[in-house]
Symmetry: C2
Subunit: 199 residues, 2 copies
DNA sequence: AAGTTATACGAACGATCGGTCAGATAGTGT
DNA sequence: ACACTATCTGACCGATCGTTCGTATAACTT
């Protein structure tokens, strides 16, 4: 079951890649074994065997999305210099990630957060944990801005975290809903203004 | 079918009230006839007869949520004086509406917008229309702030609409996810700051 | 080449999905 | 009281859900 052969590893990756696309559009609950099997031209039971349960498939899909997000957003952002450049790089990479539709339905975590907001269970728990990690990361980068003298001493870090996250998520949702790109510019503009003048 | 008798009207209202609660937690797609019937102790076919299709049930649920939202948020907000007081009243009522959990899963429209973002069909169409109406309303109230001299002439109305909407929706989602109220204060603080000093 | 194990399949499971229909039950108008 | 119609039920439809299981096929090991 725990993929020793190359064939199994490949199938698992292909399956999860498809699962993430489905989940960002129709939700992790709209993700179904039958549909996955049909689209991948595999048998339902074959896919099922890789995960053991629907919930495990959902959790594996989240893990896969984390990897992709890390590769496309977190890693490149950390190549920018500490302080304001790194914070802005993170935000811009995040917006690029959503805008480029790396996943068919935009940012996976924004979508799944909204879907599991009000629920309970293992998926909810994972989403909460991810949300906390994300906020802590934003908070750390903001604190580094203060340390580097790119933001004033007295700034309310948690408040700023909330606002940046809000703007990014709204840009993602609004661009999906209206099928227009303009909201990303609104978000980056707002972030720049909020962090103080120069780009 | 078009409710002439008092009994039918009542059943329909009770059904939709329950439907809205279910939909804000598990989504309009997670809303099922069987569950609705079980929770209301009615027959599946009895409920079905009121709406004719699942999609019509979803659309009726949206209409019902609109009524409640209008009653709890829009109407009272318009009792505040034109300009800044009315804009702030609208935002505060919105936040109160979410915080009070008038619907079990917070703000219905924030939830459904996120759910149908990336989809297509009649429900998506209605959500897009509602989103546009909401943005136009916000835009109008902001413009009135300018006219009343409560905001400077050159303000970018659409940009402000985006930011206010973003902050409100994020407060709703974050409060649901973390089960804490503090995010509403973050949103109202941010809005006050963004609109300029005094409350 | 043979043996072993990972991988995938196909048929079937009970449960639930949205939806249909004939008939029982209730409410309204006369 | 009667007829009429709105409302609601219960049995049933085909499709799909997640899941199980026995079996075939591939891929590695030796």
């Amino acid at each position: 079951m725990d993929g020793r052969h190359a064939r199994g590893v490949h199938t698992r990756r292909v399956t999860l890649a498809r699962a993430v696309d489905i989940a960002t559009v129709d939700g992790l609950e709209g993700l179904t074994l039958g549909r996955l099997a049909a689209e991948l031209q595999l048998s339902k039971s074959g896919i099922f065997a890789h995960f053991g349960s629907k919930e495990e498939l959902q959790l594996a899909t989240i893990s896969f999305a984390e990897e992709v997000f890390t590769e496309h957003v977190l890693r490149p952002a950390f190549q920018a210099p500490r302080g304001r450049p790194r914070l802005l790089a993170l935000f811009d990479r995040w917006m690029d990630f959503s805008r480029a539709r790396v996943f068919a339905g935009g940012c996976f975590f924004t979508a799944v957060m909204a879907e599991f907001d009000a629920r309970e269970g293992r998926v909810y728990d994972v989403v909460v944990r991810w949300s906390r990690v994300w906020n802590e990361l934003l908070g750390r980068l903001i604190s580094e801005c203060v340390e580097e003298g790119h933001l004033p001493e007295g700034v309310d870090v948690d408040q700023l975290v909330f606002e940046l996250s809000a703007l990014g998520r709204a840009a993602n949702h609004d661009s999906l809903l209206t099928r227009e790109d303009s909201h990303y510019d609104r978000a980056t503009t707002a972030v720049r203004t909020r962090l103080g003048a120069s780009g």
